[in-house]
Amino acid sequence: MEIIRDKKNDIEIIRLSGNLALAGVKEAKSNIKPIIEDPSVKKIIINMKGVKLLDSSGIGFLVASTKAAQKREANLALCNCSDDIMDIFKSTHLDNYLNLYDNEENAVSNI
């Protein structure tokens, strides 16, 4: 799992590459959780462009991250999800819950 952190104005951007499954989830969690829990960060975008595999533990992590951000009134968005990942979100009805954008530019403009 490769995790690259970037910042555009007041928005924290996290670009993920690899598998968001099992060990990848553990690694993502240890890197992303401190950002989500940082009270000075109000806007977070996770760019999923490089994510090939997303298993149920990865889905659980994204749900938990979204909830943790909401709990302290921050916004968390996902962008650049592959068609296969979007299919998973649709079949689990999470496409209505997660804050999803086609690309990073749209996410940055609208979050």
Binding site: L22, A23, S56, G60, V63, D84, S91
Partner: protein, 180 residues
């Protein structure tokens, strides 16, 4: 396992594996098994991706809910804490009797354009039916419990449990992509 050099000449294969009870093994073993299926040139990449996800879900269930006997409610409660509680419980049980010496057995065969995996854990079995029956709604924001449903609906063509609930058979049908 490297079959790249001759996989295209084979008509069938049958392999038995005994795997240590570690989540770390799940991703690597599933990758290697899917690589073998790929070498047979039966399956599109999209189907292979779904097959690997199905294998990951069922093998991870065998480790966590089968051999380590961690219930779904316990997992959901610990994951909700959004800290290391769940990982810590896994590590704790992996070093405790009777869980620590348990293995996952995998019987894999590929024949007649079907990839068949029989995955068996050494736990007492669990009630898989409630996960099959679970219907996700727009209000379902749980942290876990989607693996079996996703596998049966999205990832494989058939999934069957034995009566005890410690053995799962998954079947992925692949299209013929080459002439033999």
């Amino acid at each position: 396992m490297e079959l790249t050099r001759f996989g295209k000449y084979l008509d069938s294969i049958s392999i038995k594996l005994s795997v240590s009870n570690e989540l770390e093994a799940v991703e690597e073993v599933s990758t290697e098994l899917v690589n073998i299926v790929r070498d047979f040139e039966f399956c599109s990449e999209s189907k292979l991706l779904r097959l690997q996800l199905g294998l990951i879900e069922i093998m991870a269930n065998a480790v966590e809910h089968g051999n380590l006997e961690i219930g779904g409610e316990t997992k959901a409660r610990l994951l909700e804490q959004f800290d290391d509680s769940y990982s810590n419980l896994i590590e704790e049980r992996r070093n405790q009797a009777p869980y620590k010496n348990r293995k996952i057995r995998i019987e894999f065969s590929l024949v007649n354009d079907k990839a068949i995996f029989v995955i068996t854990d050494e736990g007492p079995g669990f009630d898989h039916k409630k996960y099959h029956c679970k219907t996700n709604t727009s209000n379902d924001k749980t942290y876990s419990g989607r693996g079996i449903q996703l596998t049966s609906i999205n990832y494989v063509d058939e999934i069957n449990y034995n009566q005890k609930g410690n053995q799962v058979t998954i079947i992925k049908k692949c299209e013929k992509m080459r002439h033999r």
